[in-house]
Structure formats: structure tokens, C-alpha cells
Chain length 306, copies 2
Amino acid sequence: MSVIVVGSMAFDAIETPFGKSDKIVGGAATYIAWCASNFTNVNQISVVGGDFPQEELDALSARGVALDGVEIKKNEKSFFWSGKYHLDMNSRDTLVTELNVLEHFKPVVPDSYQDAEFVMLGNLQPSVQMSVINQLTHRPKLIVMDTMNLWMDIAMDDLKAVLKKIDVLMINDSEARQLSGDYSLVRAAKTIMAMGPKFLIIKKGEHGALLFHEDKVFFAPALPLEEVFDPTGAGDTFAGGFIGHIAKTKDISFENMKTAIIVGSAMASFCVEKFGTQRLREISKEDIANRLQEFVQLVNFDIDLV
Amino acid sequence: MSVIVVGSMAFDAIETPFGKSDKIVGGAATYIAWCASNFTNVNQISVVGGDFPQEELDALSARGVALDGVEIKKNEKSFFWSGKYHLDMNSRDTLVTELNVLEHFKPVVPDSYQDAEFVMLGNLQPSVQMSVINQLTHRPKLIVMDTMNLWMDIAMDDLKAVLKKIDVLMINDSEARQLSGDYSLVRAAKTIMAMGPKFLIIKKGEHGALLFHEDKVFFAPALPLEEVFDPTGAGDTFAGGFIGHIAKTKDISFENMKTAIIVGSAMASFCVEKFGTQRLREISKEDIANRLQEFVQLVNFDIDLV
């Protein structure tokens, strides 16, 4: 069992109402790999500059993350993003975006990755996501894709082309509204599934996530936390937990995706407890099992009484 | 099994992105009674003017709602509220508020109501809610209370006095933040429970509801709907479903309150499908049972696979 993960590995500088980080390691694929490696082998595809810390790569290697597909451009700098969160933590301002190595990213899928049955396309330019799909020598069991509003603004045709090739789309509520042109998320889901993906996950941050498939819907709450310390990477961590559980169980049924979304939500609830990937590095299998039990308690009810 | 319900019976005029109603029957106690009467006998306490339709009172009577505690002030007008919802349906502007009969409302608890074991205090001036509590000859098994930000602004001392007398407080997320002075709902819940209520329900509209008790928390989602046609009365209907289920089962444990919140959420999901109380008048026991099954499907997952 293994998962191909494609996405950025980068530096972030984050400001929240609770504090300010230095320039720390971030990037969608970094969060996904730290998270998914709890459940499955990860075949990482990314690009970093010579400034990216070797210790970070070594730490991922030690967790079973294959790095053959991570290009290191020694004379260039890694992607850098800096942002500041508002009090409600659901919205943020981007302060700095330096594409650096990401500007001319041409991912190459190593031969050693070709037996992976699952693919997680982290948020990237749609044409880059497409080039990964086109390099695969066989159709994986499941291709999951994240994207963002920027690509809807500037690369909608490319995005629509990728949507036809994937199985599960993962976006947030405002992106679902933008992509569908419909305010109602239930109607938006129908419109978006007609564009290609058979499954749609709409992330609502602290308000949980919805999974749509045909006429079925499932809801996973976010764990109510005293403090959301830093939401950066929560969506990527959610994706890592989702694809990690799917890869571990090799079961792509709607029923199993429900569980996968709960796993994603549980993992995301760890991510936000500290800056960056710090909390994801600390947690044990037991922490994860306990957190999953908290989700059972959070939503479990007995309807026989009615 | 019966429930004392206290609150307004009134007229509303509602504007939503989907349309505009005439002056229709509304009021917290009206919604609560229409809803709770699916599960239990209701002992209604309210005040209306001579303009309030006799057919409405007859229709409630026919459902087992006792009206001995509903005062009719023949020469006065009923409470009137008019409001306009924004596109997101979570926020609204009040256009008109005419207190009329509500201005000098002095509720009287009829002797025939004194054996009720459960009390639902709909949103009203805290001193009016307190006067009902003070008239009760024995302490009910459970007193549930709704309130609103207005009373936090102009009658906080009275509100705090009532909070010491009740068991379950039901407010929305912005009210919980205002009452506690804390943005985090988890911390807000602790602060508010220290003010008196042993249970706290925080309603988040389309994002569901949270139940807090000691260090426990339960989450009930709202049903994802294609269209929220008119949110007026959804919170009161939720309250009616909650207290209705509790009264029917006579079980005030945290476990049973979880189910009660799901019942409240299911009933609220009907309420918003049409203007006013219209949908609540139409639904059958079978509709309710089917809707509850939808909630089971919506949140039920199998974590043994993990």
C-alpha cells in the first residue's frame, strides 16, 4: 500500500492572534506526508531549493516517505508564503508569496512510484497536477485532488480538464460556491460532481466537512477546541488523514470514505494545536486512537429511543 | 408527561432572498408548541391581542396544546415583528418591532399546569421568565431556557439571576461569546456553566449545535438542505423538539439529551423549508421518523476499521 503525494514543500511565516512564527517548514505536501505516513507509505513528489533543511528530508525519510520524486534545486530558493490570521481563524491575509522553485516546477514521477494505487494531488497549478496524472502508467484506484480559488480565477479551463480525470475533489465552502456559481452547498455539490469527480468533500474549517456522493451526504464535525493555535496546514493534514486511511484499508467505498473523513478531521485537530507541523511530529498511534474515540463520543447518539 | 411552554405568540412579516410573506402567525411559543406537540402534551403560557386568529388557537388545541395560560387581550394588538434575511440566511435585519401586548405581559401559571415536569422558557425578558419559575409550586425535573443578546445588553443582572435557576441554557454562538466574553466556544461554555446552567446548548444555525455538560461535548449537525427557505422559528422549533423528546422519554441524562438535540435538529430542518409554521403543520410521524433516519445516515460511521 502506498500513496503518491504531489505538492509544495516550502517555508511559511505565520502570524496568528496567539503569536508569530519564524520562517518554518511548511507546504501542502509536507503536511500531507507527515500525516499520511502514520497510515501508509508515501511516495513524495515536490521541489525544494538548496535552502530547504536536510534534517527535514531525513526526518520524513525515517517515517517511510520516499523522496526519489523530490527535486532539489541547489542554487534556487524554496517556495515561501507568509500570512496573518484574523481573530476568527477562518480568514487570513497573505502578506508575501515568493514562488521561487515552484515557478517552473515540472514534476517527474519516478518508476519506483508507478505501483502506487492511490494519488493525492495537493493544491498546485492544475496543469502541473495534470502532468502527474499523464505520467502514470496505470490508472490508480483513487485520485484525490485539492485546489484553490486562485486557479478558478486564472486557470479555470485547465482546472476543469483535471476535474474530469479525478475521483475525489476536496475544496472549502467558498471555493465550492465559486466553482459552481451556487450559494447552496447541496446544489453546488451536484453541479461540481457533474464536472467529473464522483465524490466531493467540502471543508468548512471549524464547522467540519461534508462528503457528497450521488444523492448521499455525510457530515464530519471538527473537534471543538479551546484554542485553534495555527490553522495553517489543517486542510492538507485533513487530506493526508483521508488518503492515508483509504490507502491503509484499500477500500474506496462511500462507507469507508466516511471513516476516512473522520480520520482526516482527527488529524487536522492535532495540526492546529501548535505552529506548523510541530504537533504532527509529536503524536503517537495512541494519541490518534484516543482522538478518534473523542470523535465517536462527539457524534454518537442513540436514536432507538425515539 | 407534559411541558410548560412560555413565550410569545405573535405576527411576523418575513422577507428572504426567496420571497416575502404576508403578516403570518409566528412567535417563539407558537413554533415550540407546534413542534413539541408531536411528542408530548403542551401547557402553553402566552399573551395575544384580539387580532390573533381563533383558528390558530383551535388548531393548537386540537393537537393537545392546553391554552388555559394564554391570555387574550381583546382590545389590544398582538406582538409584531418584521425582518429581512441576508443571502447567507444566518444574519437578518429587524425592520419593525411592535411589542403591543408583550409590553406588560404578566404570565400566570394556571393550577392545572402545576403537575408539569418540564419547562421550556422561550426567549422573553428575563424578569418575565423568572416570574414563571417563581410561580411553580414544585421544582420541575428540567427547566430549559432560551434568551438573546438584547437581554445581555439591557437586563444582564436579571438574566444572571434566571441562569442560577435553570438547568439547560440554549443560545447561539454569538450570544455565547457575548455572555462569556470569550471567543472560544469551548472556554465560553465553561464560563457560562459556572453561571448556573448544568447543560449548555450552543446553536450555530446551518453549522449545527453543540451540547456541553461538565467536561463532555456532543455535536449535532444541521441537515444540509438545497434551500433554506425561511429560517424564522428554526431555533424555537429546535427547542420544541428538544424538550418534546425529553418530556416523552422522561430521561434527563446527557446521553438522552444527545438524542433530544438530534430530534431538535431534525424538526428545525422541516421548519426552514417553508414560510412560518406551515411545514410544521403538514408533517406526519412518518416524515419525522424518516428525517431522523437521515440524521443517522448523515453522521454514522464505522471506526472499527481504523
